[in-house]
Every structure is written in structure tokens, then in C-alpha cells.
């Protein structure tokens, strides 16, 4: 079996860097990951670069122009908010297939401010506020209320997700925001799209994250001390569903990817010690509790109420602060989620450390729609 390991991984502090370019931010993350692995660009056989907003602009090559044009293959990928996870998965496949021993995956994004989504004015007239809304807060609000429809989930339960994740963020120096927000503050914040208030929406920030992936042979050569095993990598798209794509179906593709990943890793959701999932909006986190099998269908509201997904609970979710506080630079998010898991599996997460964590799951959704799930296992 050709196991694949993460040898080095890191992210820059997410924030706003208007004076830097996308390749510069990406280069910073790659250098951090190389330092973490104890390697240089000379050691890298291939680079997988995830970026959404400059998908046609050869971001991977421009990163190499910043830090070393060694002539290696570069693969630029774009998959909406699952872009980083897709780049990571492509890198994993190259090593898994035995084609390479040492590769880099990088995800990078510079975001504007304001609402994500489209006002739909590209042809004719704008459809926004005429044929409903195409904004991301409104779309994920409707997905949350779909859960309310089936299971009676309340505005307060959705808001508790933001309370939890913002509290976690106070322990993560790399998060954009590190500020606790009590329940009343979350619920009384400006309503963006009911039931998502401003504090229940992820932040548009700039960011980059990168990982060095190596074969088992190289890991043994270079040192197994801090490596993390990639136990599963799964990617799925949205299967046919009655209302999709009118109402994007983030549930089915997450369930498909999760099932594949658990099968590949040979574990069940009950074996996980922590989860970083795609809380682009507070409403999304609750539906993914069920999609990832962290609780039974219909129990997500009770799970957040119980506190079991907070640090110290049965299955901590988004101890990094999640996209809600860390920020969501869409091309970087997938690898940043994997970074968080690896940091715990290496016992390097400081005060937010999930103790004795053995298995962690990183999940992202790219609307349109795709889902990436990675399961990582402590190797030491």
C-alpha cells in the first residue's frame, strides 16, 4: 500500500492584504509549508495550485516566479469553495499513483468585500430581488430553513453555531477575528438574510495555505516524527435531485463524499476526534452535522444545544473558529481546514488542542456543487 503523508503544512494569518498580490500570498504559504517540512523548492516534483478568482491567470506558475522556476509541472485548479481541497486531492493522487514522491498543494485567494454571489445582471436585467436572491447568505439561509421545515430547528440553534465558533477563535492567532460573541449579540446583529445575521456569515478575507505531501518511502527517509497520514480523500458532485440546482443541494454530495471517505479510512463518524467543516454560514454547520454522520438525522439542533461540538465536548467542530471567524478565502479554505486537523494530530494546537486526537475530518463545499472530504490520522 502506497501511503501518502503530509510532511509539512501551514497557512498565513487570514486577513486583508491589499498591498500584496495573489502569487505573493501563495508563495508565502508555500515557503511556510516547505520550512515546516524542512525542504526547498528544489525538492518539489509537482505543484497543485487552487485559486478561484484568477482561475485563468496561471497562479501556480506565478507563485514559482516568486520562489523558484524549477521547470516542474504545475496544475491550476478551480472548484469554487472546494478549490483548495481539490488541489490537495490532486496532489494526493499524484503520490498515491506513484508518479511523484514529493509534491506541494497550495490554495490562495484575495477576496473583495461585500456579499458573495451574483446579482445576475449579466444578461437583460438584474434578477436579484426579482427572482429571489442569488446571494450566498440568502442561499444558505434557505438551506437552513429547509432543516427547520423538516426538524423544527430554531433561529437560536443556528445562532449558537456562531457563538461556539467565535469562542473557539479566541484561541487561534491565525483567525481574522478572535472575539467572543454572546448569543444575544449574534441574534441582535444586523439581519443579512433570515436566519443568518451578520455574525452568522463567514468573513471575506485574503489568505493562503499550503501542504507538502510525500510518499511513504520519502516519509521514512525524511523523518516520520511529525507526519500525518492521509487516511482518505474523497470528492463528490451533486447528484440529480428534484430541486437542484434551483436550490443547491449541499447535502447529498456531502453524504456521498463522507461515505466514500469513511469507507476508504475504514472508520465511522464515531471514531473521529475532531471535525473542521464548511461553516460558510451558521446555518450550514448544522446541516453538515447530519450529513457527516456526527448525529442522527434531525438531531443537529439538539447536538449544538448539548455543547458536544464545542472544544472539550464529544466531537469538537471548528475549533479553529471556523470560516465564521477565521475567514473564508475561498481557494485557500480547503487546505486551511486540513492544516487545522494536522495541527491537532501533531499536538501543536496550543490552548485549543483536542487532546489525544487520532482521527480528524476536513470538509468543504463548493457551491455549484461539489464536496471535498479528507480524513487524516495521527501517524505517531
Amino acid at each position: 500500500m502506497n501511503e501518502v503523508y503530509v510532511l509539512g503544512i501551514d497557512m498565513i494569518k487570514f486577513g486583508r492584504y491589499p498591498d500584496k498580490t495573489v502569487p505573493q500570498l501563495g508563495a508565502e504559504a508555500v515557503l511556510l509549508a516547505l520550512d515546516d517540512a524542512g525542504l526547498t523548492m528544489r525538492d518539489i516534483e509537482s505543484l497543485y495550485c487552487g485559486n478561484a478568482y484568477q482561475a485563468n491567470a496561471m497562479v501556480g506558475q506565478r507563485i514559482l516566479q516568486e520562489i523558484g522556476q524549477t521547470g516542474i509541472p504545475v496544475i491550476n485548479v478551480s472548484n469554487a469553495c472546494a478549490t483548495g481541497a481539490t488541489a490537495f486531492r490532486e496532489a494526493w493522487m499524484a503520490v498515491k499513483a506513484g508518479a511523484c514522491d514529493i509534491v506541494v498543494a497550495v490554495g490562495v485567494e484575495q477576496m473583495g468585500k461585500g456579499l458573495l454571489g451574483s446579482a445576475g445582471g449579466e444578461r437583460g436585467i438584474s434578477k436579484e430581488g426579482l427572482l429571489g436572491s442569488g446571494s450566498m447568505p440568502a442561499t444558505f439561509a434557505a438551506i437552513g430553513l429547509e432543516h427547520t421545515r423538516s426538524h423544527g430547528t430554531t433561529f437560536e440553534q443556528f445562532a449558537k453555531v456562531a457563538v461556539k465558533n467565535h469562542k473557539h477563535s479566541t484561541m487561534n492567532p491565525k483567525a481574522m477575528y478572535q472575539k467572543e460573541t454572546p448569543l444575544e449579540e449574534v441574534m441582535n446583529a444586523e439581519m443579512i438574510a433570515y436566519p443568518n445575521t451578520k455574525m452568522m456569515c463567514s468573513v471575506n478575507v485574503d489568505g493562503a495555505a499550503a501542504a507538502v505531501l510525500v510518499s511513504e518511502k520519502k516519509a521514512k527517509e525524511l523523518g516520520m516524527k511529525r507526519v500525518v497520514r492521509i487516511a482518505a480523500s474523497a470528492l463528490a458532485t451533486d447528484p440529480y435531485q428534484l430541486r437542484n440546482p434551483t436550490l443547491p443541494d449541499i447535502n447529498s454530495c456531502t453524504r456521498i463524499a463522507a461515505k466514500k471517505a469513511y469507507g476508504m479510512a475504514g472508520i465511522t463518524a464515531g471514531d473521529l476526534d475532531l471535525v473542521e467543516l464548511h461553516d460558510c454560514f451558521a446555518t450550514a454547520e448544522l446541516v453538515h452535522y447530519e450529513n457527516l454522520g456526527l448525529c442522527k438525522d434531525g438531531d443537529a439542533g439538539r447536538l449544538i444545544d448539548s455543547g458536544e461540538t464545542a472544544l472539550g465536548g464529544r466531537i469538537p467542530v471548528n475549533v479553529s473558529g471556523g470560516l465564521l471567524s477565521k475567514g473564508h478565502p475561498i481557494g485557500a479554505t480547503g487546505i486551511a481546514n486540513i492544516y487545522e486537523i494536522c495541527t491537532h494530530l501533531r499536538d501543536e494546537a496550543g490552548e485549543r488542542q483536542v487532546k489525544n486526537a487520532r482521527y480528524g475530518l476536513a470538509h468543504v463545499i463548493g457551491l455549484g456543487t461539489c464536496c471535498g472530504v479528507h480524513i487524516l490520522e495521527r501517524a505517531n
Binding site: I125, G129, L130
Partner: protein, 142 residues
């Protein structure tokens, strides 16, 4: 509303809104003969059963039931808020997103499953760059 005269000289807001010269506007999608999947646009093949030659034009229902929604309080610049972004399951198949009108924009006034009619009216006075006006569809409580 639903007035044929008022829809003269209006362009359809989306391709599947049909404005016949004589008669009422309607929505036309496509339906698969094999698996009965309903789409709001023409398809190359059926996305559910993969049949290559099974899709026929299909007049969409003009009534439906509210599936889910969001009350949009902040939108893109220039868009009036609040409004209700509604997802409706159409009677006869298919699903549509649109504005739910004639309902107060508060969760207490909105019921999952509430029956709605699809009505046609001018597209909130919006015009394209050439000054054309448009006909749109809306959901209103039945």
C-alpha cells in the same frame, strides 16, 4: 396582473417565460418521458436517468407550494430590501426560485407548504441598457 395587454412589448425575464402573441404568459420547461423529471430549461440529456432523446417541452404548473425561503435584508447595491426569496415546488413537477409577494417579510407570516399562485407582472420597472422593459413571474399566496 395576468393582463395580456400589459405584457405586450415586454421581454421575458428568463428564457423559459413564454409570452404568446395571443393568450396568457406561461412558463415552459422540459420533461423526461422516461423518468418524469421536470426541468426549467432544455436539457441535452436527462440528468436523472441519462436518457438521450426523452425530453419534451413541458408547460409548467401555475400553482405550487412553498418549500423553503429566506428573508433577504441586505442585498447587492441598488436592490430594494427586504424581500422574500422563495423556493416553490410546482404542482405538476419542477421547482422554481422567485420573490414571494403580498406576504409580510417576517417569519411569522410565512408557512412552509403554503400554496402559492404564479403570477406575471412587469419586472419591478427594471429596464435593460437599451431601455427594454421586462415581464417577470412572482409567487403570491393562493
Amino acid at each position: 396582473m395576468n393582463d395580456v395587454k400589459s405584457s405586450e412589448n415586454l421581454l421575458p425575464v428568463v428564457g423559459f417565460l413564454k409570452i404568446p402573441k395571443d393568450g396568457q404568459p406561461y412558463l415552459e420547461g422540459a420533461r423526461c418521458d422516461e423518468c418524469e423529471a421536470v426541468y426549467t430549461k432544455p436539457q441535452t440529456h436527462c440528468a436523472q436517468c441519462l436518457s438521450p432523446n426523452s425530453l419534451r417541452p413541458y408547460k409548467l404548473g401555475c400553482t405550487g407550494k412553498l418549500y423553503t425561503y429566506s428573508i433577504v435584508c441586505r442585498s447587492f447595491p441598488g436592490i430594494e430590501v427586504p424581500f422574500i426569496s422563495a423556493y416553490v415546488d410546482l404542482d405538476g413537477g419542477g421547482a422554481l426560485k422567485g420573490n414571494l409577494i403580498d406576504v409580510e417579510a417576517t417569519p411569522d407570516a410565512i408557512r412552509f407548504g403554503m400554496p402559492v399562485n404564479i403570477i406575471f407582472d412587469e419586472a419591478l420597472g427594471r429596464k435593460d441598457r437599451k431601455g427594454n422593459s421586462y415581464l417577470s413571474y412572482f409567487f403570491a399566496p393562493a
